[in-house]
C-alpha cells in the first residue's frame, strides 16, 4: 500500500467540537475552519485546551460531541494511523529504543515510502542534526530532541501538520531559523499547519490566521494585524500585546464616534472600531499609539487627553522605552516611545499628560474582569 510521498495540504474543519473530562470541560463547542495550505496559529494561556484540541484532530482523544473534517471528509471515527495528520508533540515523544535516524524514518517505513533513509537523512539535515543521526534520543539536548520531533513529523509531508509548541526549547537564534524553515516548507509544499504557541510574536510573525483561545473557547480569530489592531474582548486585548483599558458609561453618541465618561474624563472612539455602543463600555488603546507631553495639549475632537500624572517607572526595552504613568483618580497608563533620541522627558517623577488619536481607540464587546492581568 504505497502512498504518494508528497501530499497536498488539506483543509480542516471542526464542527461544534466539545471535550469533557470527568467533571471538567476542556474544550467548549469549538467551530473552526482552516483552508488548505494555510498557516494557522492557536494562541492561548496554559491549560486553555490547545493540546486537547490538537489531540482530537490527531485522533488521540475522542470528542464528547461534534465532528472533525479533514479535506471535507468526516474523520471523527477514524483511528490516528488512518488520518493524514502528523503531530509534533509538546513532549517530543521520541522512541528511546531507536536511533535518531530510525525515529525520523518511522513514518516513512509505515507508509512504505521508497528510500526512507535518504529522505530521513535529508529531513535531519534540514534541522541541522544529521551529524547526530546514529545517537539515541536520550543522548540529545532538549532543543535537539525538539528538532528531531520536528523532522520526524515534517518528513511525512502530511496534509495537515499539528505543531504543539514545537520551538519552545530553542534559543532565539535557532528559533528564528526554524521559524523561517517551517514557513518555507509550509509554503513550498502547500501544507496546512496548525501551530500552537505561547509566543505571540511567533504567532503574529508566521501565521496567516491567529486564533486566541481561552477557557476552552476561541475568543477571536483573524489575520494577525487585524487581531492586534482591533481586539474585541478584554482577554484578547491583554493577551495579545499590551493595552490600556478604560471603562465608563457612554455619554455622547454621534454618527462618527461615541464617548464614555471615565472618572470625569471624556474618552472617544470611532464607531467603526467599537463592538458595543450603550451602557458600560470598555475603550482601549495600545501603548505604542499613546504619547506623553510636558505641557497640557490643546483639547480637540480628534484626540483623547488624560493627565496630568507622574512617571513612576521607566523601562528600557531596546528599540522602545516603556513608561508607566500614574494619573491621580485614573490609574496607571503604559506608554511606549520609540527610542530615537527625541523622547521629551525620561526622568522619574516628571509631570506629564498622555494623549492619543481618537482613530486609535478601540471598543470592546465585554468589560475587563481584572483576571486578564494575571497572565
Amino acid at each position: 500500500m504505497a502512498t504518494d510521498f508528497v501530499a497536498r495540504g488539506q483543509d480542516l474543519e471542526l464542527v461544534e467540537v466539545r471535550k469533557e473530562f470527568p467533571g471538567f470541560v476542556a474544550v467548549e463547542s469549538l467551530d473552526l475552519k482552516i483552508p488548505a495550505g494555510e498557516f494557522f496559529a492557536l494562541l492561548g494561556p496554559s491549560g486553555c485546551g490547545k493540546t486537547t484540541t490538537l489531540r482530537m484532530i490527531a485522533g488521540l482523544e475522542t470528542p464528547t460531541s461534534g465532528k472533525v473534517l479533514i479535506g471535507g471528509k468526516d474523520v471523527t471515527d477514524q483511528k490516528p494511523h488512518e488520518r493524514p495528520v502528523n503531530t509534533v508533540f509538546q513532549n517530543y515523544a521520541l522512541f528511546p529504543h531507536m536511533t535518531v535516524l530510525e525515529n525520523v524514518a518511522f513514518g516513512l517505513r509505515q507508509r512504505k515510502v521508497d528510500d526512507p533513509l535518504p529522505k530521513a537523512t535529508a529531513a535531519l539535515e534540514m534541522v541541522e542534526l544529521n551529524h547526530l543521526a546514529s545517537r539515541r534520543p536520550q543522548q540529545l539536548s532538549g532543543g535537539q530532541q525538539q528538532r528531531v520531533a520536528l523532522a520526524r513529523a515534517l518528513v511525512n509531508r502530511p496534509a495537515l501538520l499539528l505543531l504543539d509548541e514545537p520551538l519552545g526549547a530553542l534559543d532565539l537564534k535557532l528559533r528564528r531559523q526554524m521559524q523561517l524553515e517551517l514557513k518555507d516548507i509550509q509554503s513550498e509544499v502547500g501544507l496546512t499547519f496548525l501551530h500552537v504557541t505561547h509566543d505571540q510574536e511567533e504567532a503574529m510573525d508566521m501565521a496567516d490566521t491567529v486564533a486566541v483561545m481561552n477557557h476552552g473557547r476561541i475568543e477571536q480569530m483573524g489575520a494577525p494585524e487585524k487581531l492586534y489592531d482591533r481586539p474585541k474582548t478584554a482577554f484578547v486585548a491583554k493577551f495579545l500585546g499590551q493595552s490600556n483599558l478604560f471603562v465608563g458609561e457612554v455619554t455622547d453618541k454621534s454618527s462618527e464616534t461615541i464617548s464614555i465618561n471615565f472618572r470625569g474624563n471624556k474618552i472617544t472612539a470611532p464607531n467603526s472600531r467599537i463592538e458595543k455602543s450603550s451602557g458600560k463600555v470598555a475603550i482601549g488603546v495600545r501603548p505604542e499609539k499613546t504619547e506623553f507631553h510636558e505641557s497640557k495639549p490643546a483639547a480637540s475632537s480628534t484626540q483623547n487627553v488624560l493627565g496630568p500624572g507622574k512617571i513612576t517607572d521607566i523601562r528600557f526595552t531596546g528599540v522602545s522605552n516603556q513608561y508607566q504613568i500614574e494619573i491621580p483618580e485614573i490609574g496607571e497608563i503604559t506608554v511606549f516611545a520609540q527610542n530615537v533620541g527625541r523622547s521629551p522627558v525620561v526622568e522619574l517623577g516628571a509631570e506629564v499628560w498622555v494623549s492619543w488619536k481618537v482613530e486609535h481607540s478601540f471598543g470592546l464587546a465585554d468589560l475587563p474582569t481584572g483576571e486578564e492581568d494575571i497572565e
Binding site: A58, H81, V85, T87, F89, A93, F95, F106, Q110, R111
Partner: protein, 304 residues
C-alpha cells in the same frame, strides 16, 4: 527558591568521587564476605564431591577425595534423557508462561493504569498464590487431577478420555504444574516494565501511521523486553532445576523425571553423592551457557 537550594547542593556531593568510591567499597564488603561464605564454599564443596571415588572399603555412601572425571561421563551417559527432558520442559513451560503472562501484565499495567483499585486487586491476585506454600498448592493440583477426581471423571463421561486414561504422571500434568507455579515470576517483571511504558510513545506510533499491531511490535514490545528477559530467566532457570512438580509424590510419574528428581534420588536414596554432584554442576554450567547465549542474542545488555 527551594529548587535552587536543592540544585546547588547536589553537585557539591558528587565532587568527592574518590571518597564515595571507597565508602562504596566498604559497604560492599559484607556482601562479598557473604557471597564467599555461602556461595563459593558450597560450590567448591560440590565440585570436590563430584570428583570423589568410592571408598575402598566398599561401604555404601562412603567416598574419598579423588579426581574422578569419569563421574561426569557416567552421569551424562546414565541420565541424558532426564537432562534433555529438563531443558525441554523448562523451555516449553517458559514459552507457555510467557504467552499467558504477557496479556495479564499488559492488562494490569496499561489497561488498568488509571484504575488504581482494579490494578491493586489484579496485582494481589497475581501474587496471591505465594500466600500458600508451593508444596501445598502442587499437592492440591494432584488431588484435582487424581484418577477418580471429578475432573478426570467428567472427561471420561463426556468421552474425551478413555476408561483407562489418567492425568497424573503425564508430561501434560508436569508442564501444567510448572507453568502454574512460575507464572507470577514471569508476570511481575513484565508488569513492571510495562508499567513504566510511556503511553505517549504508543500514541506517537499511531500518529506516524503504525496500526495497533505494528505499534505493539515496534514500540510496546521492544520497550518491555527487559521485563520479558528477566521474566523468562526467572522462570527458565528455576524450572530446569525443579524437583517438586515432576516428582512422583506430586504431579510426575516414572517417565517424567527431571534432573532435579535424579539429583534428589542420587543424594537421598542411592547415596551416590559424586554422581548427584556431577549432575548439579552440569546443570549449573548448562544454565550459565544457555542464559549467556540468550541474553547476548536478545541484544539487550544495555536494557537489562
Amino acid at each position: 527558591m527551594a529548587f535552587v537550594a536543592l540544585g546547588g547542593n547536589a553537585p557539591a556531593k558528587a565532587q568527592t568521587p574518590t571518597k564515595t568510591g571507597r565508602v562504596a567499597l566498604y559497604l560492599l564488603l559484607p556482601g562479598l564476605f557473604y557471597l564467599g561464605l555461602f556461595f563459593l564454599t558450597p560450590l567448591f564443596s560440590l565440585i570436590l564431591t563430584s570428583l570423589k571415588a568410592p571408598s575402598p572399603s566398599g561401604e555404601i555412601g562412603r567416598y574419598e577425595v579423588a579426581a574422578e572425571f569419569g563421574n561426569y561421563l557416567y552421569a551424562v551417559g546414565q541420565y541424558l534423557p532426564q537432562i534433555i527432558r529438563s531443558f525441554g520442559f523448562a523451555l516449553l513451560a517458559t514459552i507457555i508462561a510467557l504467552a499467558i503472562s504477557y496479556p495479564i501484565a499488559y492488562f494490569i499495567a496499561v489497561k488498568a493504569r488509571n484504575k488504581p483499585l482494579l490494578k491493586g486487586l489484579l496485582l494481589t491476585l497475581v501474587i496471591a498464590p505465594f500466600f500458600i506454600s508451593m508444596l501445598l498448592r502442587t499437592f492440591a493440583w494432584k488431588q484435582i487431577f487424581s484418577n477418580d477426581s471429578w475432573v478426570v471423571n467428567t472427561l471420561k463421561d463426556i468421552g474425551i478420555f478413555g476408561s483407562d486414561s489418567y492425568i497424573i504422571g503425564t508430561n501434560f500434568a508436569v508442564i501444567f504444574g510448572l507453568v502454574y507455579n512460575f507464572i507470577p515470576f514471569m508476570t511481575l517483571p513484565i508488569f513492571s516494565s510495562l508499567d513504566r511504558l510511556d503511553l505517549r510513545l504508543v500514541e506517537a506510533g499511531g500518529d506516524l501511521y503504525a496500526n495497533p499491531f505494528t505499534t505493539f511490535r515496534k514500540i510496546t514490545f521492544p520497550l518491555s523486553l527487559p521485563g520479558v528477559i528477566s521474566g523468562t530467566l526467572l522462570t527458565f532457570i528455576p524450572i530446569s532445576g525443579d524437583y517438586v512438580v515432576a516428582s512422583r509424590d506430586f504431579l510426575g510419574g516414572p517417565d517424567t523425571a527431571m534432573i532435579g528428581n535424579v539429583v534428589e534420588a542420587n543424594f537421598l536414596r542411592i547415596q551416590d553423592y559424586p554422581t548427584a554432584s556431577a549432575l548439579s554442576v552440569l546443570l549449573m554450567a548448562a544454565i550459565v551457557v544457555l542464559v549467556s547465549i540468550y541474553v547476548r542474542r536478545s541484544g539487550t545488555e544495555d536494557l537489562l
